[in-house]
Symmetry: C2
Subunit: 197 residues, 2 copies
């Protein structure tokens, strides 16, 4: 016994990766308790989402009127960070120490998930590199097998260009305890050790 509307809401909310069926149901009832104005605001935001937020045809970032990165002329256009997602680019922005450009791939290469070269913005990356004048490209995909594969694949494509290519450093996360580091992280931190003298 369940209201049809609640069932339908539940089904859609359950599509969201982080929402289980129980949470979706709870959310549906919580929406029912919201005031009418809030519901109409939410409905209209959702309805206009793809109209108001589009993907930048140059770098792949989400944008409203202007792309934060490509339409900002004050940015250093000699360096490029290549990331998996728009949120990863925002994570770098929050550091406030990098002022260059970004390229958002839209995923990592993953044979198991059926994500190949054509599913990512790799062609777009190559044509940008040809047209724009980057001196360094920082491959900042995730420190996972898929992220690593993607970085190596792109590095290979770019190996003959006279441009510096770098990859983020691996090692112990700051503030953590050595005891709790996984073996692979520990191994990488040993391999990447810096000599102090």
């Amino acid at each position: 016994m369940e209201l049809k509307t609640i069932e339908e809401l539940k089904e859609i909310l359950h599509y969201l990766p982080s929402i289980g069926l129980k949470s979706a149901e709870r959310m549906a009832y919580q929406l029912l308790e919201m005031d009418e104005i809030t519901l109409q605001n939410l409905s209209s935001l959702i309805s206009n989402l793809h109209k108001n937020v589009t993907v930048c045809p140059i770098c792949g970032a989400y944008k409203e009127e202007k792309c934060f990165f490509c339409d900002d002329e004050s940015r250093d256009n000699t360096s490029l960070i290549v990331v998996t997602s728009f949120k990863d680019a925002l994570a770098f922005e929050n550091l406030k120490s990098y002022h260059g450009k970004y390229h958002i791939l839209g995923g990592n290469l993953s044979p198991t998930k059926g994500i190949g070269v054509n599913e990512l913005r790799i062609d777009l990356l190559l044509s940008r590199i040809e047209k724009e004048n980057f001196q360094e490209i920082i491959l900042a995909t995730d420190p996972t097998i898929d992220g690593e594969t993607t970085a190596l694949y792109i590095a290979k494509l770019l190996e003959n260009l006279p441009i510096k290519i770098s990859r983020l450093a691996y090692g112990l996360p700051m503030g953590g305890h050595l005891t709790y580091a996984d073996e692979l992280t520990l191994l990488r931190s040993l391999e990447g050790r810096k000599f102090l003298k």
Copy 2:
């Protein structure tokens, strides 16, 4: 640096009691990844929510065309379960062993939350009891201080009526371990012990 639309979505989603700011942000981006048809379905469900789901003027349950409880003539109309919320009524329905009516209070009396007698459907309950022909009223509010206060308040109002009034049993939850029961539950299970011979 954040998209305006994402900020606005985040703010509304964060209204939902179970969604923190980080989850609201994650959800906003996940919505952005949904296909257009799903977004329009979701938007329209939300926009029409209060139009399609209303509150039954008799028992306080959420209803679409018909009230599951009041418009079902096959139900036993001699007994009434009084609950805090519609979902609590559905929890009893799932047992499939009670076939009487329900009354949904819409909350518990709670001086700290500013919920008084007028915020609940207590007047409506009294006028139903006057008009309908209940022989037993089961007070099934939560086993919390507020739920208990509400049950006792209603029991007091009804004490002079020739109707059986009962309260749900307290005790150990089935399937749990005695070691993990809190003191109050254990005390209630002792007080309510049943003699086997």
